[in-house]
Symmetry: C2
Subunit: 283 residues, 2 copies
């Protein structure tokens, strides 16, 4: 380092926390963040022009994530949350390297940690998109944290469409879940912990909870990611907004504000209008 002095650490920092996803699924993470950090402002970017990332090649996902992060950093965020499992698994090291000094949290590791804390029989079932499973994101994270845990990954692409259709808690979701999980439960040695490794899946939690045997823990990576960011603040690694700061959440998207607002409302669990979404070009 050629700089003669580090900037003094800030005690308070009113800049927003940047959150990005390929689309609206990451709004479940934003919702959890707003709830965990009620004094903070957020800048959310949904790369809707290029969604879904889950079916794209890792090289494309890294490029997209790099562009999203750059836009948020130029917009003046104080931290980056990768609220997209595909992007977090493909691009976390690149984003950390590209933005030195900037806290970067992905959705994969907090979920993996929470699943390890929950499992008693050392077996974890990971439900995610095909892309996240194929990339081995959760498999690697869990293996790195605990070598003795057996991981069963299942790609559940249909869940994404059901969540976006507002059918997360429906007969269709129940039949889809039976197809995905039918071969695993109710074996006595089946995983006692189910990790929802896709930001869309929290809206399927009621359906899954009904179908899973009693005692199986459902770990939601949106909630655990928000908790990880709150821990950064508690540990002094991320300065909180000042007590008197006006908080706000702004929404950016790369395409289709109407659909973003309509589908996003159910992930965010509050009304969102197309006029609330600012269209930006990240490429």
């Amino acid at each position: 380092m050629s700089r003669s002095a580090e900037p003094a650490p800030r005690l308070v920092d009113d800049r927003p926390i940047g959150v990005f996803d390929s689309g609206v699924g990451g709004l479940t993470v934003l919702r959890a963040l707003e709830s965990a950090l009620p004094g903070e402002s957020f800048l959310y970017l949904g790369d809707t022009a290029r969604l879904p990332y889950g079916t794209k090649s890792p090289a494309s996902v890294v490029r997209y994530a790099t562009q999203c992060a750059r836009l948020l950093v130029r917009s003046g965020v104080k931290a980056l949350v990768i609220a997209c499992n595909t992007a977090a698994s493909a691009a976390l090291p690149e984003l950390v390297a590209a933005h030195p000094g900037m806290p970067v949290v992905g959705v994969v590791e907090p979920g993996a940690r929470a699943a390890l804390a929950a499992t008693r029989n050392r077996r974890v079932l990971v439900l995610a998109t095909e892309g996240t499973i194929r990339a081995g994101a959760y498999q690697s994270a869990l293996a790195r944290l605990a070598a003795d845990v057996a991981v069963t990954p299942i790609g559940c692409s249909v869940f994404v469409a059901l969540a976006e259709e507002g059918w997360g808690d429906s007969d269709v979701a129940e039949h889809a879940a039976r197809r995905y999980l039918g071969a695993i439960y109710p074996h006595p040695s089946a995983p006692d912990t189910v990790l929802l490794g896709c930001t869309h899946f929290p809206v399927l939690a009621p359906t899954l909870a009904r179908l899973l045997p009693a005692g199986v823990a459902l770990v939601d990576s949106a909630a655990t990611t928000a908790a990880a960011v709150a821990e950064l603040v508690a540990a002094g690694d991320l300065a909180p907004a000042g007590a008197g700061a006006e908080r706000a959440t702004r929404f950016l998207a790369t395409d289709g504000p109407e659909r973003f607002a309509r589908v996003g409302s159910q992930f965010l669990a509050r009304p969102l209008g197309a006029a609330d979404i600012e269209i930006v070009d990240v490429a």
Copy 2:
């Protein structure tokens, strides 16, 4: 026109017919084309890096379709088939204008014509993606062809995911179809014709046929589009391949050859390997 002479019309033309879609769904159209025109060669392009088009804005879809068409034309095709409802509804006039003299067939109009030929109670139900429905593609085409026909459009985005998962003929598809169609059937005045306005939907035809009342016609826009191209050849508007020509189908994609091959195999109804897919950059 400043040209002094038009080129003489060809009697035979061994160049391939170009077919493009946002992904693999258009392979149902390719399959129908191969069956209707067994002597022809085809060049198929799936813009998998930017799929799905159905959730993108019309301006983006026009840009993508223009780029796909340009790549196929530069590769030496003799005709263009837009095997994507979203692209056909958004970009057909632009592609006709951009490629004078080149026959361009979209999937919308042939399906609309076939539905009109099938309906007796002058009521047509259109099942398509949200984007196709929102763009009003089939509604406009049907109104233009027959002002007295009542059109009921239903966006069925979940069907796309079910088709890609290989669950077109399953209990999940049946429950999803009941949700989409439950409010319409079995009213006696319900549409007697159902138009499958998405290239993914032919694989759901068995499920839909089981659920729909007897006498309701299912019109498949893939088969009707292939028939429209065969008619161009029969009418002398598109020169056929020579009798001795070696026929071949080549596959191009913009991303993810493994997924293209795996999911595409079920739409094409024959095995397809990742090595059969050539990755190209259309942007």
